[in-house]
């Protein structure tokens, strides 16, 4: 099967000498829901910028839906919808004009463009705002406008660079639902995000990039299973002044009187509860300290040597 995205040995050095990408390889299957994660300045936006023709490539090969970026750029662009990190529409233009114009750039004539604009504005709950200048929209609406704009030519692959940044939880969840449905209809989706629960919840495959190198790429489930250690927080029915000695488990007292303990992947939570019971402690609730993917992310990226500069 043709890959939706096939990147080989992609390098990028900016004019200021910063090496943003050090020869990365990345493969995304058609129909996948894929997350590209990494800390700030890791190379996520540079990678997606090159794929979407907003950043000039250094060296290496990029193929999108079977089309080569160097020799078939127009076909690559037709296959792609791009939702950037920053708002990049003319804020003085009306919402439906922004979509109709974008369709026009893809050669879609005004009648069909108007129909498509209506379809996606309705799907993204922006139809009531169609005659409003874009500057009058809320932050969440602006994000949804950029998604609608990216879909108006009905691309095979959608790239979203931090699509839910600064969006409240309700709108974020409705956007997740919309993206799930879009993916179920066959659109390949690649996103970057700093909300790791978003990646864990939505994406079947994940790549982690740091300092211009891919340091992990695997199915989300497999990546999480490979995690060696998790940290849990237990609320106890009494206030503690000393840390109880839980044999074999590293345990700490938190500021609010809860107990925090580490547990290895092959350990058993029942053993921890047995030890709590031996000490006469009753656990009233328990929760992971952080999202599992977040822990893995911190583990992996903290091992990478850092370089100066940013793209």
């Amino acid at each position: 099967m043709t890959l939706a995205l096939d990147i080989q040995q992609l390098r990028k050095v900016y004019d200021n000498g910063f090496e943003a990408l050090k020869g990365i390889d990345l493969r995304v299957d058609q129909g996948d829901f894929f997350a590209l994660l990494g800390p700030n300045g890791a190379g996520k936006s540079t990678t997606l910028g090159i794929v979407s023709s907003l950043v000039n490539k250094g060296s290496g090969q990029v193929r999108v839906c079977g089309h080569d970026l160097d020799t078939q750029r127009e076909a690559v662009k037709r296959s792609l919808g791009v939702v950037p990190q920053e708002f990049n529409f003319n804020s003085f233009e009306k919402v439906d004009d922004i979509l109709i114009q974008q369709a026009g750039y893809y050669g879609i004539k005004p009648k069909l463009a108007t129909e498509r604009a209506e379809k996606y504005l309705k799907q993204l709950d922006l139809w009531e705002k169609r005659d409003v200048p874009a500057r009058m929209l809320s932050g969440g609406m602006k994000r949804r406008l950029m998604i609608a704009r990216a879909l108006v030519h009905e691309p095979q692959m959608l790239i979203l660079d931090e699509p839910t940044a600064g969006v409240d939880i309700e709108i974020r969840r409705s956007m997740w639902q919309f993206l799930r449905e879009l993916n179920a209809q066959g659109t390949t989706i690649i996103l970057t995000t700093h909300y790791l629960e978003e990646a864990e919840s939505l994406c079947r495959n994940i790549a982690i990039i740091d300092s211009g190198e891919i340091i992990a790429q695997a199915p989300t489930r497999q990546l999480l299973q490979g995690k060696q250690r998790s940290t849990f927080v237990a609320d106890i029915n009494q206030s503690l002044t000393e840390v109880p000695d839980l044999n074999g488990f590293n345990c700490r007292l938190t500021d609010d009187g809860s107990l925090e303990f580490d547990i290895a992947h092959d350990d058993n939570l029942n053993d921890v509860f047995a030890q709590f019971q031996q000490h006469g402690l009753v656990v009233t609730s328990i929760r992971p300290k952080t999202n599992r993917l977040e822990e893995l992310f911190v583990d992996l990226t903290s091992k990478q040597p850092k370089q100066e500069g940013a793209a």
């Binding site: 023709s53 907003l54 950043v55 792609l80 950037p84 529409f89 804020s91 750039y105 050669g107 793209a311």
Partner: protein, 256 residues
């Protein structure tokens, strides 16, 4: 008319026209007011004392130059400000991610500038009819020169916007280069009035050729051979369009 490139060109052009008509108080009204003042002060008040120039009434003599001045500044200013605003707001990325070829982007913006330049030219010409009588001496020369001039300066405005990194950069060229060249381009006087050395210097100014050829198209009077103006316009056109396309293809100021 169904070709995707044509649809894209039409989309960019109509967007540009919508932009300058939406803000008509900033784009169409100022040249009208400025030129009416020129007609009143230079044409009526001072012109009455000057009498005739190259055998025609002074008001009639300056009208073609003032129309051309308006076309030059507005076709240039439209593209430089619109394209730079697109860069500044990053909405230019809408075009960069789309499959529109760079030559279509260039022509879309350039003809948007031409549309505003010609709209202002028509407004100024209609206003001039309140002050003087105009007869067209050579319609082909009049239309072709004003169209070519608008295209040349709109393309120059695009190049200015590509290089610009801040709003100041799109005002420097019009203020310090375009305006002096226009005023010294024979709008208000015949270069034959100047000492020989200044006549020679004036002939290095491309706007002199455009103004005089347009004047020839309207009143049949010119300081320079009309054919040389066409030659110069085509050379400028080819050079500027080639340069603009090269800059767009390399992503100068647009892609890092």
């Amino acid at each position: 008319m169904n070709h995707p490139y044509w649809v894209a060109f039409y989309t960019i052009l109509s967007k540009e026209i919508r932009r300058f008509t939406r803000i008509w108080v900033q784009t169409l009204l100022p040249p009208a007011i400025t030129m009416v003042l020129y007609f009143i002060i230079f044409g009526n008040l001072i012109g009455d004392r000057i009498g005739s120039m190259d055998g025609v009434d002074y008001m009639q003599y300056i009208v073609p130059g003032l129309i051309m001045m308006s076309v030059i500044t507005n076709s240039y200013g439209n593209v430089s400000s619109s394209f730079f605003s697109n860069k500044f707001q990053k909405s230019i990325e809408e075009l960069l991610v789309s499959p529109v070829p760079n030559w279509v982007i260039m022509l879309g913006f350039v003809f948007g500038g031409v549309a505003r330049g010609l709209a202002c030219g028509i407004i100024v010409m209609l206003l001039s009819l309140w002050f003087t009588h105009l007869e067209v001496h050579n319609l082909f020369v009049m239309l072709s020169v004003i169209l070519l001039t608008a295209v040349v300066f709109a393309t120059a405005g695009l190049i200015n916007a590509i290089f610009a990194t801040k709003f100041d950069d799109v005002t420097i060229v019009p203020t310090f280069i375009l305006t002096p060249l226009t005023y010294l381009g024979g709008v208000f006087y015949s270069v034959s009035m100047l000492p020989e050395v200044w006549q020679w210097v004036s002939k290095l100014n491309p706007i002199l050729y455009m103004v005089n050829t347009f004047r020839y198209g309207i009143i049949g009077v010119s300081d320079i051979p009309v054919l040389s103006a066409y030659g110069m316009l085509f050379v400028f056109l080819a050079a500027l369009m080639g340069w603009a396309l090269y800059l767009l293809n390399t992503g100068r100021g647009l892609r890092s």
